[in-house]
């Protein structure tokens, strides 16, 4: 049984890790664009992003399910009920969160660094690079928060993955299943494992981030 638990943990880490990197990949550039200049339009976009942070996971799951379903427009990809579909769903889910938090990090650094860099004669490009470099450690924490949201969510994994044993069963769907089977003690133990693993990842990333 514990071998199955180990598999589920590894699968969760792989799926949520990939989803987080994917989300960071497009979210941070978007955050840079949104904070590069002050304008009413960009502020509205940011408000919208902040709103989307509150989107229910099961709603993201449902929308993507209808897209990826065999009868949906992306059905030909045949990725519903596979780990890939959970990766995509979680990446979409945490995008607003990462954009929103990165934007506030970048905006703060910008206030301090941008003006200074420009005033000592840096080009706009150099100033931008300096700004992002200075923000890196805090952006790293933002990405970690995104990862934690991804690994702890249930709605997307259940809807898109289907909680299939040995293929798409992840920590959260396994916990939900044990609860509905009445195995509360085992569900609690799994919950403990989930939090412990998340804690480990957080600690390791912080350590690595410091030395890099």
């Amino acid at each position: 049984m514990w071998q199955e638990v180990a598999e589920v943990v590894a699968r969760s880490l792989l799926i949520s890790g990939t989803a987080t990197m994917l989300a960071a990949f497009w979210s941070i550039p978007v955050a840079m664009i949104l904070t590069a200049k002050e304008s009413e339009f960009r502020r509205v976009l940011l408000d919208l992003t902040n709103t989307l942070v509150a989107i229910p996971t099961v709603l993201v799951g449902l929308v993507l399910y209808l897209l990826l379903s065999r009868s949906g427009p992306l059905g030909f990809l045949g990725i519903l009920y596979t780990p890939t579909s959970i990766v995509i769903g979680e990446a979409v889910l945490i995008t607003p969160l990462i954009v929103s938090l990165s934007a506030s990090v970048l905006r703060e650094t910008r206030a301090g660094i941008w003006e200074m860099a420009v005033s000592i004669g840096a080009t706009e490009r150099q100033a931008l690079v300096t700004m992002v470099t200075e923000s890196l450690p805090r952006l790293m924490s933002v990405i970690l928060i995104g990862f934690n949201r991804a690994i702890g969510e249930l709605g997307v994994a259940l809807m898109l993955g289907g909680n299939i044993k040995g293929l798409t069963r992840v920590m959260t769907t396994a916990i939900a299943l044990e609860v509905s089977k009445g195995e509360f003690e085992f569900a609690l133990a799994l919950g403990g494992v989930l939090l412990f693993v998340t804690f480990l990842v957080t600690a390791i990333v912080r350590k690595v981030g410091k030395t890099a």
């Binding site: 990939t18 994917l22 379903s69 065999r70 009868s71 009920y81 780990p83 470099t133 044993k165 299943l177």
Partner: protein, 299 residues
């Protein structure tokens, strides 16, 4: 430059993990049979057991169960996302049979729903027929002496509960003593226990949870209106393209074969001292089919 390095590292990491995932999946891409199923079957562990035995005969086949309520299970099959459906909601099944989504199926197992309630039984339903019991709960509810907790999630159990109310010619919808949860059987039983309320349950989930349900007792356990019929359907490839019809039929034959039926009627003896399901064995008297028909009509 530091940013570029981070960016390159990120790109490489994303590409590698996506490659890894796609390799991991293609390994499983041969001969997949996708089955959407009612949770009341899956959560007992019976289906994993059947799949395990099936795999010994067909090692190249991967049977994947997606356990959801019967309503959602049928809907997802209609969307084209399952090859096979296991369901226990005749009235819903009828709809999908009529519109051609499902090919005519087979009844493979049955057991009984049970009406559970507080041990002191304020509505006095013990010993009554299921329909009398529902009427008595209604009357007691109106007098403020009983609470009923409903799944309210369009599952097979929920559909049966609605049918029982309508057979008793009462409509509890909107009453203050009638709590509509929108929850699975497990949670519904827990709520009924906390509130000392009546509810309708499948027998498997109730037995699994009975050690946590100190306030509750099964009160009505028999009666035609409580027969819980499990049917298996292959999705119709003419109506829903892409269905793995061949494999679905092989698995259906296995479930209804002597070997499959033996597994079904013995399942649960180790854990509960009695079996959770009765095998239908082809329904020789046609009685199950009759009950199924009359329920499908009522929906």
């Amino acid at each position: 430059m530091r940013i570029r390095r981070v960016f390159v590292a990120l790109t490489v990491a994303v590409v590698v993990s996506i490659l890894f995932l796609s390799i991991y999946q293609t390994g499983q891409h041969e001969n997949i049979l996708r089955v959407t199923t009612t949770t009341s079957l899956y959560n007992t562990g019976l289906l994993d057991k059947l799949a395990e035995e099936f795999k010994q005969m067909h090692p190249d086949v991967s049977v994947q169960f997606i356990a959801i309520g019967s309503g959602e299970a049928l809907r997802r099959a209609a969307q084209g996302d399952a090859d096979m459906v296991l369901s226990h909601a005749p009235n819903l099944e009828k709809r999908y049979l009529d519109d051609g989504t499902l090919k005519p199926g087979k009844i493979f197992a049955y057991n009984y729903f049970i009406i559970v309630g507080p041990s002191d039984d304020p509505a006095n339903v013990t010993g009554m027929s299921p329909i009398e019991a529902m009427a008595a709960i209604y009357t007691a509810g109106e007098r403020g002496r009983a609470i009923f907790v409903s799944r309210a999630d369009n599952s097979g159990t929920h559909n049966r509960e609605l049918m029982l109310w309508s057979l008793a010619s009462v409509n509890p919808s909107g009453k203050t003593w009638y709590l509509e949860l929108g929850a699975d059987m497990a949670l519904t039983l827990m709520v009924a226990n906390e509130k000392k309320a009546y509810t309708l349950s499948d027998v498997g989930t109730y037995l699994k949870f009975s050690d946590k349900l100190g306030e509750l007792k099964p009160l009505v356990e028999r009666g035609d209106a409580l027969i819980n019929i499990y049917s298996v359907y292959v999705v119709n490839p003419v109506k829903v393209p892409g269905v793995n019809e061949k494999l679905a039929e092989v698995f259906m034959r296995f479930i209804t074969s002597e070997e499959g039926q033996k597994i079904i009627e013995n399942y649960g003896i180790d854990e509960f001292g009695k079996p959770l399901f009765n095998a239908a064995r082809g329904d020789p008297t046609g009685e199950l089919k009759n009950v199924w028909e009359s329920m499908a009509k009522l929906g």
